[in-house]
Amino acid sequence: MDLFINKLYIWSRSQKNRNLLIQFFFLIFISLFIYYLFTKAILLDMTLSHFDSRAGFGISHTFIIDYTSNDSRWVSYFTGVINTIRVCIVAILFATLLGTIMGVARLSKNILFSTISYLYVEILRNTPLLIQIIFWQIIFLKLPRISEALTFGNTVVISNRGIILPNASPSDNGNIWITIIIIAVILSLIVSYIINKKEDLDGKNIKLFNFKFNGNMLSILLFFTITITTYFILQKPFNLDLPSLYQNNKGTFVQSGGFEFTPEFGAILFALVMYTGTFITEIVRGSIQSLSKGQTEAAQALGLSNYQTMTLIVLPQALRSIIPPLTNQYLNLTKNSSLSVVIAYPELFMISRTIMNNSGRALPVFFLILITYLSLSLVISIFMNVINRRVTKIGT
């Protein structure tokens, strides 16, 4: 017996064994907890079988999928996912653009410009996103009523039912033009690459009419020349689909045609862009500021111009510290899109809630939501990781 206690004592003095003991107890605790949850969960119906049945509710925004209330709940859910992706991609693009401009503005010597940026960040960052969404919704609803809609001579229809912009659907010639645009983009990218490489090897001596040209400028010029001249050569490449407004025989206003931009979509888009933009502004500003002043000084002492200092020295280094927190903001934006439930823009969260209310089986639907958001976050993270690796690949 004594031997046994002795052996136990020696065994317990090893740190490794103590660690094992602690983990063992944790495992037991967690297992009991999970068992408890399990017993409760058994009582619930944990399948998503109810997703196969008829949805029974309408969705106001459908994109790609032609949804009717007779479709299954799976279809309604996917419509919601598409709406989420739609709003998120557009919002991410514009928020990044706005944030970058405002971030640079904050550091500008133009006092007017930097004050706008300062006020923008301080006011919109400290106001809850929910309030901003509702604000934009109210603004959109304050647009004139449909009977007094602004039409600007039949080109657009602006009312509290949304904004309808002219839609352009390409005719046969138009399809050719679009192909030409794509070719022009590729061509100018290639030209830009070649010219830059040549400059690198042979020094700067590309002269056109005695004016030293930059490789990038040349390619942009090329792009515009090609696209504009071919537009005029081809006749009528686009059929303009103008929005029209008329009263049908019951006296109600009907709008048709064009490309519709509803108040709900507008509200959630504007709010997400403005709100996330403030955080991106601070990220961009902090990143550029944290760059040691010595870098710009060294570049200027060598004679590099302001433009060259920015593009060759400052931005490549700043980008490195921008991308991880930027990714974080994109993930936040994606999750914040769920707030559109408050203004009835049918993205995936709102539709899930409707399904939960209709069918009452919340837990499995919730797992579905969790998995969906995790997948969206994963996609964004992987995409940004690729960009991150390209940016941190040192070189110019």
């Binding site: 983990q23 495992l27 500008s108 309030i131 707030l339 939501i369």
Partner: protein, 388 residues
Amino acid sequence: MNNNNSIKWFFGTFFGSVFNSIVTILSALIFLFLINNIIGFISTSEWEVVTVNRRLLLIGRMPAEHEWRIWSILWITSFLIFSSINSWGSPSKRDLLFISFITLIICLIFTTSSTILYVVISLIICIVSYTVSYFIYKSSYQKYFQNSLKILWILLLPIIFALLLIGDGPSPNLWGGFLLNIILAFIAISFGFPIGIMLALGRASSLPVIKIICIIYIETIRGAPLVAWLLLAWFVLPKFLPTFWGLNEISVVIRAMIVLSAFTSAYTAEVIRGGLQSIPKGQIEAADSLNLNYRTKISLIILPQAIRVVIPALISTFIGVFKDTSLVFILALTDLLQVGRIIPEQDPEFFGKALEALCVVAFLFWTVSISLSNLSKKVEKSLGIGSR
């Protein structure tokens, strides 16, 4: 000579180059547009929707006989805030201006004919505690006072709860308005912060079981939006709570508090994890070589340094939590934002006044957030951390 310089400076800054000039013109246009609209709005708007519904906005549907609780809470909190302002260094003139401005506006919001007495008492408390703490700061009792204030701040939450609940206080379901937002934020931070610390330590631990559990917890909570978790609390949480003690029938407010605390703990854990990572390995090695045990090592060496480094990010997270308390609308709780939305929709007297109500609601949220944000900047400066 000076005049020439200023004119040269003006044109140089604003119209130095073509690009610069375009920017100046655009900015000026934006400014004018915004100011025009804002002034137009303020001059033509009617603020009855706010003044009449003051009570609803601030404390929800709490019955009138319990109002004394709210006033006592307000007085204790004002005392604490105004004493604390002066006990850790004097505020700058700019800060003083800001504080006075905010206090003035809040007094305006609170004052009606029936409450004027209470508001005056509050103002007196503010001024008295400010001046008294100023003198104590200069005297030799500074340390004692600071310590007692610290203890009071820690006890504030239980005090508030006691004041709200003793003597058959109103059930939590009746808590609403701005009060609800503040209480929810307070609870979420008070519980979320310590739990977050433990999670961060667990995640940094070398024991795989603990590490994995913490990672799963943190990543799961951060994977879904807060509204989804709140909805889960509504639908699912009751089913998972034990049936004894009537626990599975706890009120919605308590459920919201649980979810918010869990949510805060996950985000706090991530922030503190960043702080833990930034501690030089030499610190841990020094602590080990001094033979400090785990508890001492963590609480006296590692954690203070880790938290100090990430205070700005922490306060930013807390501000986020406060803003997120507006999301409890999904549980049909009437917080400040919900009240501000519902009144113009349901009360025929105030149709179409949605924007006015929203502005006041936004202002109240903004005030708290920006005060915390300024506090964070001051702390950064005094601790010498953060960006230049």
